[in-house]
C-alpha cells in the first residue's frame, strides 16, 4: 500500500488509491474521476513528481505539555516525546511515523496506513483522560511533491520560506498553498527536495488541479 500513481500518470483505478478488503471499498480523494480536467499530465520540463500517498494514519493529539505524566506516557507509545519547538516534526522511534507540532498543546501523529484506530486506542489509554485523541486518518490526504523544482513549484502558491535552511527536514508548517489550508512537511534528507502536503479531502481535487497548472508556469 505505497503511494498511488494518480498524479504520476496512471489511469483511473490503477493506482493504489483504492483499498479493498472486507467491507466497503476505500478510495482516496485523488483516485477517481474528481480530478479536474487536464491535470493528469505534467509538462515534461517540470522535472517534478506529484503523487498521492493515500490512507496514511493520522491521529490528532491534544495534551498540556506541562503535564509530565501524560507526556511521558505519550512518549512511551510513540517512542519519542512530542516536540515542543513550534513547527517542528520528529520521527517516531520505529521510523514509521512522524509527530508534527501544530500548536502549543496540539500534535498530529502520522503513521503507516491502517494503523489509525490502534494508535488512537493506545494514545487514549496512555493519556488516561489528560487530553484528547482523535483518529483523523480520513480527515486529510497527502500529496508528495518531489523533484529538483519542487520548491519553485510550491513557491507559486505558498507564502512561507521553503528554503532548506529555513524549512528543511525536521520542520513542518500549517500554511496556505494557493487557496487551500495545508500542512507542509519537508521529506528528507534525500537526493532531491520533497514535501508532503496534507490537505483535506474536499480540497484535494482543487489542489491537484492547482499544482498541475502551476507546473505549467515553470520555465
Amino acid at each position: 500500500m505505497t503511494g498511488g500513481g494518480l498524479l504520476a500518470g496512471s489511469g483511473p483505478g490503477a493506482g493504489s488509491g483504492v483499498l479493498s478488503g472486507g467491507g466497503l471499498m476505500a478510495r482516496s480523494p485523488l483516485d477517481g474521476s474528481i480530478v479536474s480536467p487536464g491535470v493528469r499530465e505534467l509538462p515534461s520540463q517540470a522535472e517534478m513528481s506529484l503523487r498521492e500517498l493515500p490512507f496514511l494514519a493520522q491521529v490528532g493529539l491534544r495534551v498540556d505539555p506541562a503535564h509530565e505524566a501524560a507526556m511521558a506516557a505519550v512518549a512511551d507509545v510513540l517512542g519519542v516525546r512530542p516536540p515542543t519547538v513550534p513547527n517542528t516534526a520528529l520521527i517516531t522511534e520505529d521510523g514509521s511515523g512522524q509527530v508534527l507540532w501544530l500548536g502549543p498543546d496540539e500534535w498530529l501523529v502520522i503513521g503507516e496506513p491502517g494503523t489509525g484506530p490502534a494508535l488512537e486506542s493506545r494514545l487514549r489509554e496512555a493519556l488516561n483522560g489528560a487530553g484528547s485523541v482523535v483518529d483523523l486518518s480520513a480527515n486529510r490526504t497527502t500529496i508528495l511533491v518531489s523533484g529538483p523544482r519542487a520548491r519553485d513549484l510550491l513557491a507559486f502558491g505558498c507564502p512561507i520560506d521553503l528554503d532548506e535552511r529555513a524549512f528543511g527536514p525536521g520542520r513542518c508548517a500549517q500554511t496556505l498553498l494557493a487557496r487551500a489550508n495545508v500542512i507542509i512537511v519537508p521529506v528528507g534528507p534525500g537526493p532531491e527536495p520533497a514535501f508532503r502536503i496534507l490537505v483535506r479531502p474536499s480540497f484535494a481535487a482543487y489542489l491537484a488541479a492547482w499544482l498541475a497548472d502551476a507546473a505549467l508556469g515553470l520555465e
Binding site: 483499498l19 482516496s28 486518518s137
Partner: protein, 874 residues
C-alpha cells in the same frame, strides 16, 4: 523630428537579430533588445498617439516607466492582448502587435484579450532585495553578496533589457509594505507567461530606483519632438537610435553636458543649448501641419527672441529622486534646495530600508542648478496664455487648469491634484508632480517644501486585474470543495448548487423533468417510501475531555451534561448578544466525549467560537475541540422504509424502535466497515444518518443504493431537504436567522434553559429582546395555494396604504416552497408579533401584483411528530 537607427552603438540591442512587429497596422522591424518605443523611433515614428482631451499629436517623451504619452495596447504572439502599457517598458518580440490608445485606457479586446494570457504569482524570500539595477543598485547587490556569501540577494530592474549579474529584468516594484513585504510585477518572465506578480519578503531592502528627469513648462511644450534630455541619451546609448537630427537643449543643470556629448557622438547636430542659468529660456515651439516640432522660440539674456529651426528639443529641469517606494514604507521627504527636489529626509537606512544613489538625491553631474519650473507665455500671463503650458501630458492638464483650481480657493496639494487631475493618470505624475507643486508654491507664495507633493501610493505603475488575480481564476478562482460521493453525483446528473465553497447536489432530475417536478418527486419519496442524501458537508466537531459536559452546557442554551452516552440532543447556541449562532445535533460518545454537528456553512465559525471561549474565558476547562468534518462521510436514509434499508446494512445491529429509539446513536459495522449510525431526522420522517470514514464514503453510498433498490430508494438534493425541513419548521441558520434572531423568536424558547448559565443568557433578558412585537417565526399560506411567494418578499398589514411610502413593514418571507405533502404552497416568515397574528391576513406587495396570505403556526406538517418512528405501511 526625424528619428532613425544609427549605424553603430546600442548596448542593449543585437543587430544580428531582426524582429518583426506591427504598430497601428503597419508592419515594421526592430532589433532584439529593443523596447517598443526604441523600435518605433528607429522606424521614424515620432507621433505615437493623440492626447486624451485636446486631441493633440503626441510623441515619445521618456525612455522609462515615467512615459506619459506612448500608451499602447499590445497583442502578444501567444494570442493574449493587454491594454494600457507604456511602449517604453514593452520588450519587443517577434510577432508582437501594438496599437496606440490615443491617451485613453480603452479595454479593447484584441485576439483573446487579456484573458488569453497566462499571469501568475510567486513568493520569494531573500535576505536582501535591491530595487533598481543601475550603478548604485548593482553596487549594493555586489556588496551584499560579498559581505555574506550565503545570503540570498535579489536584484530587480524595470527595464526589460536590463542586464547584469542575476538581475531579474522587466520587474517593477509596486509597493513596500510592512515587515519587508514588497510586491513587484515582472513582464514576460517566460515565453509561456505574460506576467508574474512577485510577493517578496526581504530582510533588508535597498531602494536604488534612480531619479526621473523633469520638464520645464513653456508654451506648446507637448509637441512630438520635445523630449526629456536624458531619454535621448538613453535611446542613443542603449538602443543605437537617434531621436532627431537638429537638436536644441533647454537646461538648468549640468546633466545635459553629457547628453550634448552623446548627441555629438551620434551625429545629431546640437544647434543650441538654451541655458536657464545664463538667463536664456525657451518660450515656445513651432510645428508643421502634423504638429511636429520644427522650431524653438528662444529668448536670450539680452531680451531678444529668435526662432531656431530644430526637430528635437531636449529639456531638463532637474531630476526628481524616485522616492515613492521610500514613502510607502513610511519614509518622509524634505525639499533639498541644492538639487531643487524632494529627497528622503534621512541618510542611511530607516529600519530595514535604505535608499542609495540617485534615489537618495545623489544626481551625478547635476552641478549647480537654478530652479526652473515654468516660462511665462510670450504675450505675458493671461488665462488663455497658460492654456498650452502642459503640466500633465497624460491628463491634458495645463497651468490654466492649475490657476482655476487655485482661484477656486484650493491650497492643499492633495486638493489641487484632485481638482485638476494632475498626477492621477496612468503615469501617476512621475514627470508632472513636483513641477506642479513648485508652480503652485510660487503662485501661493509658499516654499515648495511646505507645499509638498501628493502622497505616493502603490502600485507605482498600473497593474492589470488579470495580473493581480494571477492563477486564481476560472476553475481555480476559489476552491471547489466536493464530498467523497461527488463522482456518483456527477455521473448521475445531479444539478449542483454552491453552498459556501461546497458543490452540493440541488436535485437529481430525471430526463425531461423540471426542477420543480424533480424536487416534488424527491420529497414525495422521502415522505412515502425511502430516500437518501449526501449530508457529508455538515460540520462535525469532536469535543473531548472530562469537562466536556460543563462546556457544552455553557455553549448551548439547553443542557447537555445530563445527556446519556448513546443519546443525541438538538442544541441551539447563541452569541453573547443572545442571537442564534448555530444549531445542530450533538451526541454523547462517552462520558468525556461528544460528537457535535453544525450547519454546513458554519463549521469553521463554530469551531472558532468554541476555541475562543476555551482559550480566552475558560482556560481551566479540560476540553479540546477538533474538527472532524472531513473524517466522516454522512449518508442520510430517510422515510418510512428507512429502517428496512438500514437493517440490511447493519445486520449485527438491532434497529427496532425499542432497541434503537429516536435521538440515539450506535457504533455499528456498516456493510462490513466500522462506523456510527445516528437516529436523527431533519425531515420529521424516520431517518438514520450513517457515518463512515471519508474514504469509504462512495462505497457506502453505493451500498445504501443497493440495499434500498427493492424499496425504490431515491437520492435527493438540498432543495428537497429544504422543503422537508420547512414543512416541519426546522430553521436553517442563515436563512431563518440573520444574526438578529433569538431562540425565542424562532419559537424555540423551550430549548432555553432557565436553570443554568450559557453564552447569551444575560442578553435574553434585555428589554429589547423581550418586546412582544419582535419578529417571530410563523408559517404563511398564500390564499392562492398554487402561488409560491418569493423568498425575501416583504409583508405588510392588509389595511396598509401601498401608495404612502414608506409602507410600514411587518416582516419578510424567509423560506417558501411548493409542498407535495401539503398539496399547496407554503412559506416561513419572520413577522412582528407574529404569533399574535396567527389567523390574520397579510399582504405581500410584489413587483407585478399584491398577494394575500394568512399567518399560521409554523409547523405545518405532522405537528404531533407521529412520523419520526416510522409509519405503518399499507
Amino acid at each position: 523630428m526625424t528619428a532613425s537607427r544609427l549605424a553603430g552603438g546600442g548596448s542593449h540591442i543585437d543587430r544580428a537579430r531582426t524582429v518583426n512587429f506591427e504598430f497601428d497596422g503597419r508592419r515594421l522591424t526592430g532589433l532584439a533588445g529593443d523596447s517598443l518605443a526604441s523600435a518605433l523611433l528607429a522606424n521614424g515614428l515620432d507621433v505615437v498617439g493623440r492626447s486624451i482631451y485636446h486631441d493633440r499629436p503626441r510623441g515619445i517623451v521618456a525612455a522609462g516607466p515615467e512615459e506619459p504619452n506612448a500608451l499602447v495596447q499590445v497583442a502578444w504572439p501567444s494570442g493574449a492582448s493587454e491594454p494600457m502599457l507604456r511602449a517604453t517598458t514593452v520588450a519587443l518580440e517577434d510577432g508582437l502587435r501594438a496599437w496606440s490608445l490615443a491617451g485613453h485606457g480603452r479595454l479593447e479586446t484584441v485576439d483573446g484579450g487579456i484573458d488569453a494570457g497566462r499571469f501568475d504569482s510567486r513568493h520569494a524570500h531573500v535576505e536582501v532585495l535591491v530595487i533598481g539595477a543601475g550603478r548604485a543598485g548593482r553596487a549594493a547587490a555586489a556588496a551584499a553578496r560579498l559581505a555574506k556569501p550565503g545570503e540570498r540577494v535579489m536584484l530587480i530592474d524595470s527595464y526589460p533589457t536590463a542586464t547584469g549579474d542575476g538581475v531579474v529584468a522587466g520587474t517593477t516594484a509596486l509597493g513596500i509594505y510592512d515587515h519587508g513585504y514588497v510586491t513587484a510585477v515582472q513582464r514576460r518572465p517566460s515565453p509561456q507567461t505574460e506576467g508574474r506578480l512577485w510577493h517578496v519578503r526581504a530582510g533588508r531592502i535597498v531602494v536604488a530606483t534612480g531619479a526621473i528627469e523633469r520638464p520645464i513648462v513653456f508654451a506648446d511644450n507637448d509637441r512630438p519632438g520635445v523630449m526629456l534630455a536624458g531619454a535621448a541619451a538613453t535611446y542613443i546609448d542603449r538602443y543605437g537610435v537617434r531621436p532627431g537630427e537638429r537638436a536644441v537643449i533647454f537646461t538648468n543643470n549640468g546633466t545635459t553636458d553629457a547628453v550634448a556629448a552623446t548627441l555629438r557622438r551620434a551625429g545629431t547636430e546640437l544647434v543650441e543649448t538654451v541655458d536657464f542659468r545664463r538667463g536664456e529660456t525657451v518660450v515656445g515651439t513651432r510645428g508643421d501641419d502634423a504638429g511636429r516640432l520644427t522650431g524653438v522660440d528662444v529668448a536670450r539674456a539680452d531680451g531678444t527672441t529668435e526662432t531656431v529651426a530644430a526637430d528635437l528639443l531636449l529639456v531638463s529641469g532637474g531630476w526628481n529622486p524616485s522616492v515613492a517606494l521610500w514613502t510607502h514604507a513610511g519614509g518622509r521627504l524634505r525639499y533639498d534646495p541644492a538639487i531643487s527636489a524632494f529627497v528622503p529626509d534621512q541618510r542611511g537606512p530607516n529600519g530595514r530600508i535604505a535608499v542609495v544613489g540617485a534615489a537618495a538625491g545623489e544626481i551625478e553631474g547635476l552641478g549647480p542648478i537654478v530652479p526652473a519650473w515654468v516660462v511665462p507665455p510670450p504675450g505675458g500671463p493671461s488665462e488663455d496664455g497658460w492654456a498650452k503650458h502642459y503640466l500633465d501630458l497624460g491628463r491634458d492638464a495645463t497651468i490654466r487648469d492649475l490657476h482655476r483650481a487655485l482661484d477656486a480657493g484650493l491650497e492643499s496639494i492633495e486638493h489641487l491634484k484632485r481638482y485638476t487631475t494632475i498626477g492621477t493618470g496612468s503615469d501617476q505624475g512621475k514627470t508632472s508632480g513636483v513641477v506642479t507643486s513648485a508652480i503652485a508654491a510660487a503662485i501661493l507664495g509658499q516654499d515648495v517644501g511646505a507645499v509638498g507633493v501628493p502622497t505616493y501610493r502603490p502600485p507605482t505603475v498600473p497593474v492589470s486585474f488579470a495580473q493581480l488575480a494571477a492563477r486564481d481564476r476560472g476553475l481555480l478562482a476559489d476552491p471547489i470543495r466536493v464530498t467523497s460521493i461527488q463522482p456518483w453525483h456527477a455521473a448521475n446528473g445531479a444539478v449542483f448548487e454552491d453552498v459556501g465553497q461546497w458543490k452540493r447536489p440541488h436535485h437529481f432530475p430525471r430526463p425531461g423533468e423540471t426542477v420543480d417536478e424533480a424536487v416534488r418527486r424527491e420529497c414525495e419519496v422521502a415522505r412515502t417510501s425511502v430516500a437518501m442524501m449526501d449530508a457529508s458537508t455538515l460540520g462535525k466537531i469532536d469535543v473531548q475531555g472530562p469537562d466536556s459536559g460543563i462546556f457544552l452546557d455553557r455553549v448551548y442554551t439547553n443542557t447537555f451534561s445530563t445527556l446519556k452516552v448513546g443519546s443525541c440532543r438538538y442544541g441551539l447556541m447563541c452569541r453573547a448578544d443572545g442571537m442564534v449562532l448555530d444549531d445542530g445535533v450533538t451526541s454523547r460518545l462517552a462520558d468525556d466525549r461528544f460528537h457535535m454537528t453544525t450547519t454546513t456553512g458554519n463549521a469553521a465559525v463554530v469551531l472558532d467560537h468554541l476555541e475562543e471561549w476555551l482559550q480566552t474565558e475558560w482556560p481551566e476547562l479540560r476540553v479540546h475541540a477538533t474538527s472532524v468534518t472531513e473524517q466522516w462521510t454522512t449518508v442520510a436514509v430517510v422515510g418510512p422504509q428507512a429502517r428496512a434499508v438500514v437493517s440490511r446494512l447493519v445486520p449485527d445491529l438491532d434497529v427496532s424502535q425499542a432497541a434503537f429509539p429516536f435521538m440515539t446513536w450506535r457504533e455499528a459495522v456498516i456493510a462490513g466497515t466500522a462506523g456510527r449510525v445516528f437516529r436523527i431526522s431533519f425531515s420529521g420522517e424516520l431517518a438514520y444518518e450513517l457515518n463512515v470514514p471519508t474514504w469509504h464514503g462512495l462505497a457506502l453510498w453505493e451500498a445504501v443504493l443497493a440495499a434500498g433498490r427493492a424499496f425504490g430508494i431515491t437520492p435527493y438534493g438540498t432543495q428537497a431537504m429544504h422543503v422537508l425541513r420547512a414543512e416541519k419548521a426546522y430553521p436553517i441558520i442563515g436563512q431563518e436567522t440573520d444574526g438578529t434572531v433569538t431562540p425565542q423568536d424562532l419559537g424555540l424558547g423551550a430549548l432555553v434553559s432557565t436553570k443554568k448559565d450559557f453564552i447569551g443568557r444575560r442578553s435574553h433578558r434585555r428589554p429589547d429582546n423581550l418586546r412582544p412585537d419582535r419578529k417571530q417565526l410563523v408559517g404563511v399560506l398564500p390564499v392562492d395555494p398554487a402561488f409560491v411567494l418569493p423568498e425575501g418578499a416583504q409583508l405588510v398589514a392588509p389595511d396598509a396604504d401601498l401608495g404612502r411610502i414608506p409602507v410600514p413593514m411587518l416582516g419578510h418571507i424567509t423560506s417558501s416552497y411548493d409542498s407535495a405533502a401539503l398539496g399547496r404552497s407554503f412559506a416561513l416568515a419572520l413577522v412582528k408579533g407574529g404569533r399574535e397574528r396567527i389567523g390574520q391576513t397579510v399582504l405581500a406587495p410584489l413587483v407585478d401584483r399584491t398577494v394575500e396570505a394568512v399567518i399560521t403556526e409554523s409547523v405545518l406538517f405532522d405537528p404531533e411528530n407521529a412520523r419520526r418512528d416510522g409509519v405503518a405501511q399499507p
